[in-house]
Amino acid sequence: MFELQHVTKLYKLVIGINDIHLSLPPGAYGLIGPNGSGKTTLINLLTGQLRPTLGRVRVFGENPWNHSGLLRRLGYCPAPDPAQWNVSALEWVTYLLQLTQIPRTESTARARQALERVGLGSSMHRPIQTYSLGMRQRIKLAQALAHDPDWLILDEPFNGLDPIGRREMTTILQEWVRDGKSLLLSSHVLHEVEEITPSYLLLCGGRLLASGTAEEIAADLGNVVGEVTLRGSGMAHVASQMVGDPDVLSLQFMPHRSGIKMLVRSSPAFRTHLQQVLAAPEVVLEELDTPSQSLDSLFSTLMKLHRGEVVSQESWEPLAPGEAS
Amino acid sequence: MALHELGYRCWNGSLRSGWDRWWVIAANGSRLAWRNPWLRRVLVLAWLPTVYLGMAFFLYEQSVDHSILARRSLIFAVRSFPESAHLLPELKEDPSAIRHSFWSMLLLVFLRYLQGTLMVIVVGMFAPSLITQDLRTRAYLLYFSHELTSWEYLLGKAMVIVSYLSLITVLPATALYILAVMLSPHLSVLYETWDLLFRIWAATLVMMVPAASIALMFSSMTVEKRYAGFGWYSLWIVGWVAHLTLQRVGGGGNWWWVSVKHTIGKVQAWIFDVEDLSAAAPAMILLAAYTLFSLVLARARILTPLRS
């Protein structure tokens, strides 16, 4: 398992990751965050390539820095492509397996097996420099899983893959997870991560914004204020009904009363109340925009929260009836 | 809600004329190279010879005023310079009679041996990546998708090298000349030595133009900057060793052509009146050929991926 205790990594004056504290038992996790959020730094700390400036990192209970024994149990697929090589995929994966201290004949057999598994069985003898971007991604995956590690760590494995390639990569990773192996998957492609694992680590600006399943994060976001937008006729009636709801924190009419915007705490009670109000005959709804429960939406809300664009419940008091502006 | 047009929008402002497009590449390249802290440190260190030569100018002007101690110190300081041999007797007798020759000799030694060697180190620190990086990252596709010719591109890249070389050649040499004038007894020495300023500029140009062209050629030959760096250093080291060997055990003779450094030195010696034009003319032709060949090859290398 992986454990980070208040870990901070500084690159001179640049913060890579900032005070991350988390514990990951064996399982599958999606590591999600925008560019520069600290995903690769976190992975480099876990694989022992970087030393934390502050805090403590533990992998399988041991410090990964300079701990070669741990590396046999990790399979790492980095983001950058190994370019300009005049060697074949089979030679390269065999070579990396030999460096994992697997005997040569066994290395060749395992490399062959791994390349076939990622769909490169027919082209494994071609030089890597003749490969397409998608094929290179597959070789990278093959070298990571060829030595049968306990944990697979993948950094942006979907980059450069066409839709079919993405589908195949997703299937391979789903099988990996189904076999009971652990996975840490860093990606920008949120819906593909959703297909592989329900557990996420959301990083932004070097900080861990949230961790857990989408449901857990959504439940935690119950304390966070979201915006609901309604357009149509009969909006005055909706406003008069909703203004007294304890989960409605503010309410604002759009020009010409064509719609309303409400800052709300999205509780089940609020949703039931809103459904009842909208069912009234004088209300004709043309547009309804609510915060959804998708990972994309959760991430967007968390980012807004991080940037201070929305605020948590503690800063707000519910409106008294008749206070709508 | 306002919809913002985020697609392509034509530039409505006035466009600059195209003649200075190379300047953008030169300015950007210089800025990128300047980020290298080691380059900045070496540039500072490259001014150390200026201090030594400045001392020599000081001692010379002091010895003109009949200071025996200064004269002895000066002879000690310059006797190891190859071009000083024929000046030493007069330096002992009447230094004021050989001001022009002596200043020329000092400036030639400064540019030919000291800064000439430092030039190899400094250029090797940043020039190998100038074109290599563009080829590697395919940035040249971006460059040439704009209104930019390959010659403008090459000129911009060459100017990056020229700008840094100026900092260690033309600038300190000009500073040395100004210092020498300031240290002399009266300003009339300007009348006697004004031409040296132009000779300095000509001698530095003779260094910078072939060096920049050759560096760009190596940089364009490969996508890996270590190969370009290796090519650059090998050219100078192999040439220098070959010249030394042939000179020592090859029975003397004119072996300057085996070394680019010595070829440049030959032309510089003519600029400072140490060699005749007839002796330096072949070296000038060879340098022109190096420059032309390097630039044509570099251009062909840049254009090859565009054609394919």
């Binding site: 959020s37 022992g48 980095p78 | 890996e224 090998s234 060793v241 055990v249």
Partner: protein, 256 residues
């Protein structure tokens, strides 16, 4: 650590070294000395003593060929991996960094040593000297020692200054192995050149033939001592490089 993994790196690097540019570079290194000596001998010569010619061959093969070769194969050891994005793939293998360093060191010294052997083998076919066989043996031995010692030095420079290794290797060679090794003082004994030069003059029995004031540039110690010091330098530098590569962080991309 595992010898089989070092051997795997060596084999892999050997295979990768068979590229057009590197083979051309190797040929230039191997043929540089014979061509130069041929040029020298094609001219009417003043009488040149045997030890002067031998010293020239020593400088060309043991110094220039070996140093330039190591500049190409040894100095960019880390830079090459960082540039081609392959560093991280190797570094996450058990003792991957150390295996990489030792395997690439072995590959670099082998290529360079072979270039030096080729150079002296061709040169000794036509050079006018009384003891060409002896010179061949001595130069081959010195090339081996030179490749090992300078290889270890350049590898250490590569580990400490990964992105500017070539520049620092050139600077170090010019300043220390070029200038300082010729300073008639204790400091020149710290250079590799001093030991190699001393071995040449002792093994070729030229020590007594050179002018007395030039002997200060040579070691008076018996040859086995110089060989021991050179091997000691090699092992120490390699050990330092192994320690440094294990404890250094190499950034492979931006701080994402």
């Amino acid at each position: 650590m595992n010898a089989e993994s070092v051997w795997a790196v060596f084999r892999f690097e050997w295979r990768r070294s068979l590229s057009g540019f590197r083979i051309v570079a190797w040929l230039v290194l191997a043929l540089f000395t014979p061509i130069l000596i041929l040029l020298v001998q094609s001219r009417p010569l003043d009488p040149v003593s045997e030890y002067v010619m031998g010293s020239v061959i020593f400088v060309l093969v043991v110094e220039v060929t070996c140093l330039l070769g190591l500049l190409l194969w040894g100095a960019p050891l880390i830079q090459a991996e960082l540039e081609s994005n392959s560093w991280i793939y190797l570094a996450v293998r058990p003792y991957g960094r150390v295996h990489l360093l030792l395997g690439k060191y072995a590959n670099a010294t082998t290529w360079v040593f072979l270039a030096a052997v080729t150079a002296i083998s061709i040169t000794s076919r036509f050079v006018w000297m009384v003891e060409t066989e002896r010179l061949w043996v001595v130069i081959v031995a010195l090339s081996l020692l030179s490749s090992l010692a300078y290889g270890a030095l350049y590898v250490l420079i590569a580990v400490v200054f990964p992105k500017k290794a070539m520049v620092f290797a050139v600077l170090y060679t010019l300043i220390f192995e070029g200038l300082v090794s010729l300073v008639p003082a204790t400091i020149n004994r710290l250079t590799i050149q001093y030991r190699l030069r001393s071995l040449l003059f002792h093994w070729m029995d030229w020590y007594d033939k050179i002018p007395e004031d030039a002997r200060i540039l040579l070691s008076k110690a018996p040859p086995w001592q110089d060989v021991g010091i050179l091997l000691g330098i090699t092992v120490s530098l390699l050990a330092a490089a192994v320690v440094a590569i294990q404890f250094r962080e190499y950034l492979t991309g931006g701080p994402d």
